[in-house]
């Protein structure tokens, strides 16, 4: 079995947002949407800090679909539009989606965005990878682990574009993969692990 995932080294993450931008571009993500957000944890402003000057700390945490093994969104979808593919990616069949948004209520990570309108793009043409389907209004969308790229053996765009090489991508089921090693050697943890959704995105550092 293949179970694709990403491990993110938070110490190497400087909040540069290259991953967020790369994702937006690659996946033709419309205005007002992000599949991949970089959060300044515990702060109410971007690049803020936790604590009182000068006793401060700051952690950036990129958050996108966690491609949970036990995905909450997948179970609740009434039409099976959300599914887990053979590579372990959580994906959406936009032709099935009825836009009920129960998946958005079910996702603990706010990873999904919805096409509330006919998507608006700036620039107003379809940018990014031509293999990525264009989504109509009324469907939910989210990170696909760059399905179109990873299926062809390419790296997800966020991994490719991360300037500090904070991201490691690979097969979690293969104990010898780089990503498995990173997770094992660094004691990487999952986001909201206590919920038991078993994310395939790991964080460490």
């Amino acid at each position: 079995m293949t179970k694709l995932g990403i491990a993110i080294n938070l110490d190497r993450c400087t909040g540069c947002h290259a991953c967020a931008m790369a994702c937006k571009m690659q996946n033709n993500v419309p205005s007002g949407m992000q599949w991949n957000r970089v959060l300044t944890e515990g702060s109410d402003i971007v690049d803020g800090a936790v604590g009182e000057f000068p006793n401060l700390s700051r952690t950036y945490r990129p958050v996108a679909c966690q491609h949970c093994e036990n995905s909450a969104c997948l179970k609740v979808c009434p039409v099976g539009a959300t599914y887990k593919d053979e590579e372990g990616r959580v994906l959406i069949d936009y032709n099935k989606c009825i836009g009920c948004r129960i998946c958005m209520a079910a996702c603990p990570y706010n990873a999904r965005v919805f096409n509330w309108n006919e998507p608006v793009r700036n620039p107003d043409f379809n940018y990014g990878d031509s293999r990525v389907p264009v989504r109509p209004k009324g469907v939910a969308e989210k990170c696909t682990l760059c399905k179109e790229r990873t299926t062809d053996g390419e790296l997800p765009m966020c991994v490719l574009c991360c300037p500090s090489k904070a991201r490691t991508y690979g097969d979690l089921d293969d104990g010898n993969s780089d990503v498995s090693k990173k997770i094992r050697e660094n004691g990487a943890t999952q986001l909201l692990a206590e919920l038991g959704t078993k994310p395939q995105l790991y964080y460490f550092g």
Binding site: D11, R12, T14, G15, C16, H17, A18, A20, M21, A22, K24, M25, Q26, S31, Q34, S43, D44, I45, V46, D47, G48, A49, V50, G51, E52, F53, P54, L56, S57, R58, Y94, N95, N122, P123, D124, F125, N126, Y127, G128, D129, S130, R131, V132, P133, V134, R135, P136, V139, E148, M157, L160, C161, P163, S164, K165, A166
Partner: protein, 803 residues
């Protein structure tokens, strides 16, 4: 963009509407031109794909020079990826570069040549033809030059609106005044370059050499934001065990990723470094053998006059110029006499008082000790706010947990009136501890990353010798304040608001010019003051298939960049514009007629690390790694320094009259505790870099605007005292002027200071722009420095109130 109804003034966009242009020429906006076509068939991948990839080098002020592999679909730039090299490795890029997919098509692009129809600054224009625009500019230059002389024409190109490398012909062809030294980014270099340790502020060591360092001191360098594409080197070193220490008044991104952070008071870095020098001397943490062999510290100095003892010698440089140089002397412990420092068999004394030809002489080393005596850690602690035991600890780490590197930025301490003292003191730290000439050492600005030997064999387009710029007498930033002969100006990009302070005065000066034209890509801050505006292509656009040759700065690469897309709107490349202008003066025969001709010439003799990189090879490859790229570079391997003595020179005799032969602490101009002005304006106004822009560039990128806009940051206590909260509009002001923008209450900002990142276009502010409050101070002593007076961008006090 200002709301029209509220301010009562015309915004640019409403101007476009009111003059009927929205529907006409200018209305050819990003949105209008690129109307949604039938691609939007639901949930289908783009059918019939007509796409290919092109290679582009994204070279900018960030010095990234990143290779972009651009996907073009149906004539549109749709995707940017890092380039692939022959060895399978990939280049790097950052959020800014990626945002170009939108930014290139942004509505803030200048679309046609424009002629001003309102008052200067009002921003009212009407479109004109290229012919009319070029003729108007040429006529204005001709008139001014015939009336007031050749040097009455000011011309400058800044990297934003430069689209072709090696193109800067007009200034020379027309003998323009180019504004002289910019006064930017050489503040610390004024103190460190004379030592021979840095050149143009740059370190000689590659950022990839950081892995070999035991300790790295980041002084006012927020490299993780200002040089995003180099951050991998930072983390490789950190993970390899290098101790990272940041000196920064705010908890910058870099500070947050370092092991240790010294939250220094703004403008006081010199006191910290002087104290470290003293500690190293007192604790004998210096490297005596290095000092004796490689530095000027054993040189003898006249105790009374401060003059370095030595004999004059005639020297002929490589260009055949003859000059008198002093050969300093040392006390030779073998012969017990003063000898040339470079004489055979000399074993110099490090300390001691000697009498040489009836003059009382001591070594520079002893003089340094004497002069540093008052710079105790306790004193420095008072000045800079860092506890004295922390200062001692940092000195210990720098001196004893080596090899050590000093990484300084182009921000922070570089932007105060006392910047040269910082650079000088830091150089002394390096020289004392021997942190030079071996792996893991060095000092200087590292934003250039790789610091590989320059690509050999990229030729420059020559102009006949009679074409040269006029001798500059008044630097651009001084023009509003000093008598000058400039009557006509033409700039590529914004060289006004980005490179001057006290902007209201500068704008007043611009308004006095007989004629002012700007060639720009975007509606930047100076555009509203121009009489003629020319639309420039982005770097992705070119009429020809070949754009330009570009050698990497951060990377050991060389590019022959390709046309990514056709020029948008009516824009032209800078080469095309310069060619049109030259034609008006009958001088076009000196210029390359096409991008291809220029590129072919530049690559006509590839040699050295570019052996075989001919035009045809490069045409096919787009990008190639230089042949010697695998070597990790560090400076001064041969132990030779580019000074007259060949050693690291720390004693600057030419600054004797200012009592700065060795550094002495000097307060910044405005930002210091005892300044009485603090009662009126209690907050230090510090600006810096952000990962979301390069100076002003990317201000208009809509994808960037999701994260970044004009924003001033303030400490929570200062905010509470002023009754402001995150998201409020605030007015920041002093006697020089004001601006209004949003505020973020941010715990990472030191009490008593404000921070603002980047230089967003003026039209994005509610009112004004940040340069309205910055300081134009310079003292006479600054003009005598190696790089002349520096602009103290950070040396300003302000007050903030809720708008």
């Amino acid at each position: 963009m200002r709301k029209d109804s509220e301010s009562g003034t015309l915004s640019r966009r409403s101007f476009l509407k009111s003059t009927g242009l929205a529907a006409g020429v200018l209305g050819f906006s990003g949105e209008g031109m690129l109307a949604v076509d039938n691609w939007l068939s639901p949930t289908k991948a783009n059918a019939e794909v007509n796409e290919e990839t092109r290679i582009m080098c994204h070279w900018f002020h960030c010095l990234g020079g990143c290779g972009h592999k651009c996907t073009v679909r149906d004539g549109r730039l749709v995707k940017i990826e890092p380039v692939e090299f022959e060895d399978g490795t990939r280049g790097r890029l950052c959020a800014r570069g990626l945002s170009e997919v939108q930014h290139v098509y942004d509505v803030d692009r200048i679309q046609t040549p424009l002629k001003r129809v309102g008052e200067r600054g009002e921003g009212k224009f009407e479109p004109i033809s290229w012919e009319e625009a070029i003729k108007t500019i040429a006529d204005a230059i001709k008139e001014s030059q015939s009336k007031y002389g050749e040097n009455s024409f000011y011309f400058r190109k800044s990297p934003e609106a430069r689209t072709t490398t090696n193109v800067d012909f007009i200034s020379k062809l027309l003998h323009a005044d180019t504004g002289g030294l910019s006064g930017i980014d050489r503040g610390q270099a004024n103190g460190s370059d004379p030592s021979g340790l840095t050149s143009n502020a740059r370190t000689r060591s590659s950022i990839w050499d950081w892995e070999n360092a035991g300790t790295i001191l980041h002084i006012g360098s927020n490299i993780l934001e200002s040089s995003v594409v180099n951050m991998e080197a930072f983390f490789n070193a950190k993970e390899g065990g290098t101790k990272m220490i940041a000196v920064d008044p705010r908890f910058s991104t870099t500070a947050s990723k370092c092991h240790q952070w010294l939250p220094i008071k703004p403008g006081t870095d010199a006191s910290l470094l002087l104290a470290i020098v003293k500690i190293i001397l007192d604790e004998k943490w210096y490297d005596e053998s290095h000092i004796l062999a490689k530095t000027s510290f054993p040189f003898l100095v006249d105790e009374t006059t401060g003059e370095v003892l030595g004999r004059m010698e005639e020297r002929t440089d490589s260009a055949g110029k003859v000059s008198q140089v002093k050969i300093p002397m040392v006390w030779d412990t073998v012969t017990e006499s003063a000898q040339d420092h470079n004489a055979e068999g000399v074993v110099p004394a490090l300390t001691g008082s000697y009498t040489v030809e009836d003059r009382k002489a001591i070594t520079e080393f002893d003089l340094l000790k004497k002069q540093m005596s008052s710079y105790t850690p306790e004193w420095a602690s008072e000045v800079c706010g860092i506890a004295s035991d922390v200062i001692v600890d940092v000195a210990d780490q720098y001196a004893n947990n080596g090899p050590s590197t000093i990484n300084y930025g182009f921000g922070g301490p570089d932007k105060y009136a006392n910047a040269d003292i910082v650079g000088h003191a830091a150089s002394i730290m390096v020289a004392l501890t021997g942190n030079s000439g071996k792996p893991g050492t060095g000092i200087g600005y590292t934003g250039y990353g790789n610091v590989n030997p320059a690509a050999a064999g990229v030729k420059s387009w020559p102009l006949p010798a009679e074409f040269a710029v006029s001798k500059n007498t008044v630097q651009l930033f001084d023009m509003p304040f000093k008598e000058n002969n400039i009557h006509v100006g033409l700039t590529f990009g914004d060289s006004i608001t980005l490179t001057t302070t006290d902007l209201n005065k500068t704008i007043d000066w611009v308004k006095t010019l007989d004629f002012f034209a700007v060639a720009e890509i975007y509606y930047s801050s100076t555009v509203p003051y121009a009489d003629i505006v020319l639309p420039v292509c982005s770097k992705y656009e070119c009429r020809e298939e070949v754009n330009c040759v570009r050698t990497g700065v951060n990377y050991p690469d060389v590019y022959l960049t390709q046309q990514v897309i056709e020029p948008l709107f009516e824009s032209k490349t800078d080469l095309e514009i310069e060619y049109l202008l030259a034609k008006e003066f009958g001088l076009e025969q000196h210029l390359p007629k096409s991008h291809e001709e220029l590129a072919k010439f530049m690559l006509s003799e590839p040699k050295g690390n570019m052996e075989g990189f001919t035009y045809d090879v490069m045409r096919k490859a787009g990008v190639k790694r230089l042949l010697d790229s695998s070597e990790i570079v560090y400076g001064f391997k041969d132990g030779k320094y580019p000074t007259t003595s060949g050693k690291i020179e720390l004693y600057y005799e030419n600054k004797l009259e200012d009592k700065l032969a060795f550094p002495q602490y000097e307060d910044a101009n405005e930002v210091y505790d005892a300044n009485p002005l603090k009662e009126k304006y209690p907050l230090a106004f510090v600006q810096g870099k952000t990962r979301f822009s390069i100076h002003a560039y990317f201000s208009s990128a809509k994808w960037i605007q999701d994260y970044y806009g004009p924003l001033v940051q303030i400490n929570p206590n200062d905010a509470a005292a002023r009754g402001v909260k995150t998201g409020d509009d605030v007015k920041v002001f002093n006697d020089r002027g004001y601006f209004v923008c949003r505020v973020a209450v941010d715990g990472s900002i030191q009490p008593g200071m404000l921070f603002m990142a980047g230089l967003p276009y003026t039209h994005l502010y509610k009112e004004g722009t940040l340069q309205n409050v910055t300081n134009a101070y310079r003292s006479q002593r600054h003009y005598k420095l190696l790089f002349g007076s520096q602009i103290p961008f950070n040396d300003a006090l302000v007050e903030l109130v809720k708008a």
